[in-house]
Symmetry: C2
Subunit: 206 residues, 2 copies
């Protein structure tokens, strides 16, 4: 791509550093901003800059929060002995949106991924182990993505907790409630069958 | 989407104001920036802010340019009597990348689109008419997109130029050079046949 303007080239380059945004898309987005009132660009850059500079993480669960202890951790009606281990705040938001979970969270900030240079020390694992050691947690629920990295991370944490008194479970994976069997991928369908549950339990949950 | 942080919510909202960026994608992009060094967000916001504030347009062709008269307009080896009329700088870049065109451009800044509230007065049409009136242009090539808005804009300009001495042509539309006929859409194939050219001309161009 040959640019007639260094300012334009620079803006497109920085925009295309975002994941999934190619040079063409970046150019389209930047030209859109140029056609909008200057205030829109100001609001965008201000919001991004402020977030990046003033970002805070909950001291307990490491989720993004504007206060020291997030609303979930400080909510007296949540079950403090049940902790769901997730990768990032998107998982917290997804689980919260179900309205089904009343425990707390522990946000790792990613998963172990040697290819991306992310090791255990880059994640909030030691603080999780400390929490378990302190005896305040009765059950941990692993809710990482079902990828090799997710499994590696689960297993790493599992090994760190060996000998400690805590129940460890993992979220059920299977065919979505409204999905047709024939459209499900084989791995999911396989897990669905392997992890079958007593029909009486399913009746209770429906 | 329920956010645990106003700063996060605000950044996601502003990001999702960009065309084609939904709330989910915006959240993914913003979380990515949070995982990168602070400098990346700074570079992005600085580049966007600078472009939006310091943006300049070529006084002659209205293309984005860091100088008063762009490199194309000020290039003595370009044919000054041939002007290609385009919507925006992306079209200039696309045509320049062919290396086939030696004339100048006139960037309208969009096309007439009543539904989007864009009328002729919002586009750089009067300066084009002035240029033609001054007698400096021998041929105009319409290269707007082949949509109703593009056709409307072409026709509006055509009417404004009635009685003036200028040749008006439009870029050829048809099956792409390497495309198979069977995969072409009907409208394109139809135009390809209607606008057929003498075989000798095709031989010359290949
Ligand atoms: Zn918290
Ligand atoms: Zn120019």
């Amino acid at each position: 791509m040959e640019f007639s303007s260094k300012l334009l080239e620079n803006a497109v380059y920085e925009m295309s550093q975002l994941p999934g945004i190619g040079k063409r898309t970046a150019l389209r987005l930047v030209l859109h901003l140029l056609r909008q009132p200057e205030a829109q660009t100001e609001h965008l850059t201000l919001a991004l800059g402020q977030l990046r500079k003033e970002i805070k993480f909950c001291k307990k669960c490491h989720s993004i929060s504007d206060v020291e202890i997030c609303d979930i951790c400080s909510n007296p009606s949540r079950e403090k002995e049940l902790v769901c281990v997730v990768e990032d705040i998107r998982d917290v938001m997804a689980i919260e949106s179900t309205g089904q979970y009343r425990g707390l969270y522990h946000v790792l900030g990613g998963k172990i991924s040697p290819l991306d240079g992310i090791g255990p020390q880059d994640l909030k694992i030691s603080s999780l182990v400390e929490k378990v050691k302190s005896g305040e947690i009765k059950e941990l629920i692993f809710a990482l993505s079902a990828t090799m990295e997710g499994d590696t991370t689960n297993f790493y944490i599992y090994r760190q907790l060996e000998g400690l008194e805590v129940k460890i479970s993992t979220i059920a994976r299977g065919i979505g409630v409204n999905d047709e069997l024939e459209y499900a991928d084989e791995v999911t369908l396989g897990r669905s069958i392997m992890n079958r549950i007593p029909f009486e339990n399913a009746l209770k949950n429906s």
